[in-house]
């Protein structure tokens, strides 16, 4: 395949940045999108004229959440249920023009080219994304508290969030509600997490607002673009938890 690539280049956080055009020949349909980027970078390095394009990536199997990229206007590109590293070139056609930009949100400032700073997500987790249990191992036996399978499964589904930020990037309000609600839900569904449920949801939501993420207006784009298919139900659950916590207090 032959492709025209329109890629966002930005030297650093303060640089203005602009789209630059590249062409790439002999792209195999079996390549992953990031392997295609590797080939382009190898070409740029060999030419020696400009720096290769910086992008975040690590596990390349869809689980670490490090890769990002807005591809043709969608976080992680046109395929569903995948991260950019799992997107394959067979989803594109010979002669295509592909626009590649960083995730855009106030809470995710650009670091360089396609790399953004998602440390706001970490700070939201610091505010309450945990159960306050010591790591002594002297807790009760793991089977002492049975957990209904349905609850355990729902908690698991929420817990599969990889923290990539596609939900924020896809949202017209740059809302982080899907991300935050996934963590809130995981713990509120499990008996172990119920003790601190009120404090958790209040603190995490407060931090989320401080980081400059917008609110949810129920368009559902986040869930569609989420590589792990995290359900909107989680946002509803978080809203219930939040309401309960604000009404009843500690």
């Amino acid at each position: 395949m032959k492709l025209t690539l329109k890629i966002w280049r930005q030297k650093n956080a303060t640089d203005k940045g602009a789209i630059k055009t590249y062409t790439l020949d002999n792209v195999s349909e079996h390549m992953s999108f990031l392997e295609m980027m590797d080939v382009l970078n190898e070409q740029l390095i060999t030419e020696g004229k400009e720096e290769p394009i910086a992008f975040d990536h690590d596990c390349r199997e869809g689980i670490c959440g490090m890769c990002s990229m807005h591809i043709n206007g969608e976080p992680h590109g046109p395929d569903r249920g995948v991260t950019t590293c799992q997107l394959h070139m067979r989803k594109f056609n010979d002669g295509d023009t592909i626009y590649i930009e960083p995730f855009r949100a106030k809470g995710f400032p650009v670091v360089k080219d396609l790399v953004v700073d998602r440390s706001a997500f970490d700070r939201i987790q610091h505010a309450g994304g945990f159960i306050s249990v010591p790591t002594s191992g002297n807790t009760q036996d793991a089977n002492a508290t049975p957990v209904p399978k349905a609850d355990a499964d729902k908690a698991f589904d929420a817990a599969t969030c990889i923290g990539c930020g596609a939900c924020v990037a896809s949202c017209k309000n740059a809302s982080a509600m899907l991300f935050v609600s996934a963590k809130v839900s995981q713990f509120s569904l499990l008996p172990q997490g119920k003790v601190e449920a009120k404090r958790r949801v209040l603190n995490m939501v407060e931090q989320m607002d401080k980081e400059g993420f917008g609110n949810c207006t129920n368009t559902g784009a986040c869930s569609v673009e989420c590589p792990k298919g995290i359900s909107l139900e989680n946002i509803a659950r978080m809203n219930r938890e939040y309401l309960k916590a604000t009404i009843s207090g500690e």
């Binding site: 079996h30 290769p52 596990c59 959440g65 995948v82 790399v115 793991a142």
Partner: protein, 671 residues
């Protein structure tokens, strides 16, 4: 050459750890506040260690090169975590887990460490459940288990095919709690580039902020390296792109011995490679071997027909298939350990039975499992005369519940539906059992410098059993290191903060600076990746699944050439004081090249076959075990711990003798 002292406590094996904990020095809570500890790496071992140490009261500084500690490659572990809970009532015990691990490691691990690992395994599950890790459960609400290779019990706890993710997020949440309290200071997007020693003790590190490019001096009373394994020395592996040996290698160059580098795990079930552009390989969890059957066609004519597209694998009758693992190893069948399964796949493919264009693929088939589960489900639903289609549909649903995300991952990569046609798999580099040498306290040969998790060498011998890496990472981080490090730090309660405006820190920083500047100013012509790929090819072809003297000697020469050419001709674009991924790679590849040479030397020196290390010269020649690996306990029942001398080609070997008092050394048979 010297003989190393592992400092194994006295007494019967089952009491060693308890006795040791009762005797070692403690640091009182008020003094812990005066002590700093650096943890490099935030995977299962580093994350859990950082959280535990901070919770105990130490001031922790944690470092990771990723943008968040949650991205560490432990996240990608799929199948599960072992623990001797015996919830399934199938006769499991601490001793059995210990025994299976030592046997699985082909009797090349340290007995006392493995026993301790088995002993604390049960605490891990309790701990993780308390933290809210959503393990798979049965309808009664209790935890579910499954079976993994090399064992005859079901002791593996899991969260679908994302167990590593859930455990890591558990450790990450424990870290977050401490970060929120200010007890851990987190340095993301920071890479450790050297260790600083003061008076012979580890007292800090030099780290590069990869966003600004600034070099930073960080001091502490002890340094913990939990930076994972070095599988990426092969370029293509199931490791993440950023996984590297740098932190471990830098401490090696400062005096920490590196043990058994040649012990590498080649995992039998990975998606086969497709082209030269390939950047990494993807694992398909070993848990799939619970339900998947591995086979190749019995006749070469069918192999040809499949390759040229005239026949589909599903069209071959049972008689035309060779379920070679079930045939060769009737007792363990598809659940033989990883090294055995990998070699068996290579044997069939070398004989011409590989089923894809490259000739390097075998089938992993779920048809019988789908049928079996479908029938069970139909019976439960009372559908006595369910059609074949209905049974298949029911069965597929069950399989989807167990392995859904893995099947989806496979389909995305290969564009084939594994519910309908068998998966194609082939072995790939996955894990490294070798690593930094540590004593029973997990301390390296540098006082105050510790190594935990995959970065150390101690628990898996020459081959790791499935679902044991997660167990070891968390055991080291939650339950071993936090205690043993206190024994050392008890001597530091009056030391006070370690200053960084000293010649030791300045020298180390200047060394790192000079090294990086050299890359930037090198004016070479070839990319970092081009050298890494070349190194990987040499490693895979000559230091891979089967090794021999001739190949290893060639590899050593070739790696030397690559090293010289790399430093002469590598081209690193960009500058130092900015985000520069090529510079980061150059620094890592430089270390991989040096490690690769040590790796090949270690493989050459070990003239026996054991676990993942198979020397063609050392195989059983006849009898029922013909062709199987032949261990040499008389000459090689030791750990090879290598000392850096300044010349990558002239390492010095030291030995730690391995003694087995609680397990009889036997040939490992899975027949």
């Amino acid at each position: 050459m010297s003989v190393l002292d592992a400092k194994i406590p006295e007494g019967p094996i089952k009491d060693k750890w308890t006795n040791h904990k009762n005797k070692i020095n403690l640091v009182n809570p008020a003094n812990k506040r005066l002590i700093d500890v650096i943890v490099v790496g935030t995977g299962l071992a580093g994350g859990s260690a950082a959280a535990s140490l901070a919770e105990m009261g130490y001031n922790v500084k944690a470092f990771c090169f990723q943008d968040s500690p949650r991205r560490a490659h432990s996240i990608a572990a799929q199948g599960g975590i072992n623990a001797a809970k015996n919830y399934q009532n199938d006769g499991d015990s601490v001793y059995r887990l210990f025994y299976d691990t030592v046997k699985g490691g082909d009797y090349r691990s340290r007995e006392a460490n493995v026993y301790r690992l088995a002993e604390v395994s049960t605490n891990i599950i309790d701990q993780c459940v308390a933290q809210g890790v959503p393990f798979a459960r049965e309808y009664g609400g209790l935890l579910d288990n499954r079976s993994f290779g090399g064992v005859l019990v079901s002791r593996t706890f899991y969260a679908k095919g994302q167990t590593g993710q859930q455990l890591l997020l558990g450790a990450y949440s424990a870290m977050n709690r401490q970060i929120g309290k200010g007890k851990i200071k987190m340095y993301s997007r920071h890479e450790m580039l050297d260790l600083v020693k003061v008076d012979g003790k580890a007292r800090g590190i030099i780290a590069r902020n990869t966003v600004t490019g600034e070099l930073e001096k960080h001091s502490a009373h002890a340094v913990v390296i939990a930076s994972g394994g070095y599988g990426n020395v092969f370029f293509l592996s199931t490791n993440a792109m950023g996984s590297n040996v740098t932190a471990a290698w830098k401490i090696h160059k400062k005096g920490a011995y590196f043990a058994n580098p040649c012990y590498t795990q080649i995992h039998p079930t990975c998606i086969p490679r497709s082209g030269d552009y390939q950047s990494k390989l993807t694992l398909m969890s070993e848990s799939l071997r619970n339900d998947g059957r591995i086979w190749v066609p019995k006749h070469l004519k069918d192999v040809e027909a499949i390759k040229n597209g005239t026949k589909k694998p599903t069209e071959l009758s049972e008689d035309e298939r060779d379920y070679y693992l079930e045939r060769r190893y009737p007792a363990f069948g598809n659940l033989v350990p990883r090294d055995v399964a990998s070699r068996a796949a290579k044997e069939r493919c070398d004989a011409g039975f590989g089923v894809n264009e490259t000739g390097e693929a075998v089938y992993l088939d779920f048809a019988s499992a789908i049928e079996r589960y479908g029938k069970e489900k139909a019976t439960i639903l009372g559908e006595v005369d369910a059609s074949t289609e209905r049974i298949k549909a029911l069965g597929e649903k069950v399989v989807e519940n167990k392995y859904g995300n893995l099947f989806q991952m496979y389909e995305k990569i290969t564009d084939e539906n594994p519910y309908k046609t068998p998966m194609q798999i082939y072995p790939a580099v996955h894990y490294t059992m070798g690593g930094v040498w540590v004593d029973y306290n997990l301390m390296t040969t540098i006082p105050g410098c510790y190594a935990a998790g995959e970065a150390n060498f101690s628990d898996h011998g020459a081959n790791r059993l499935g679902a044991s890496a997660l167990m070891q990472g968390l055991a080291d981080g939650y339950f071993v290191l936090p205690y043993t490090i206190g024994d050392y730090l008890a001597g530091d309660i009056r030391t006070g903060p370690i200053p960084t405006d000293t010649p030791e820190f300045d020298d180390a920083l200047n060394d790192v600076k000079a090294r990086l500047e050299k890359f930037i100013n090198n004016n070479g012509t070839k990319s970092v990746d081009s050298f890494h790929k070349r190194l990987g090819k040499v490693m895979w072809n000559k230091v891979g699944m089967a090794r021999n003297e001739k190949g290893l000697k060639e590899a050593i020469d070739e790696i030397k050439e690559i090293r010289e050419e790399f430093h002469r001709d590598v081209y690193v674009p960009g500058d130092m004081y900015n985000l520069n991924p090529e510079l980061e790679k150059a620094s890592r590849v430089s270390d991989f090249i040096e490690l690769g040479e040590l790796f090949a030397n270690d493989a050459l020196e070990r003239m026996e076959s054991c676990g993942g290390h198979f020397r063609e010269e050392s195989a059983e020649e006849d009898g029922p075990q013909k062709g199987e690996a032949k261990r040499d306990d008389v000459n090689y029942a030791h750990v090879s711990a290598w000392e850096w001398t300044g010349d990558p080609s002239a390492p010095v070997m030291h030995k730690e003798k391995l003694t087995f008092n609680d397990i009889e050394l036997k040939q490992r048979s899975y027949k």
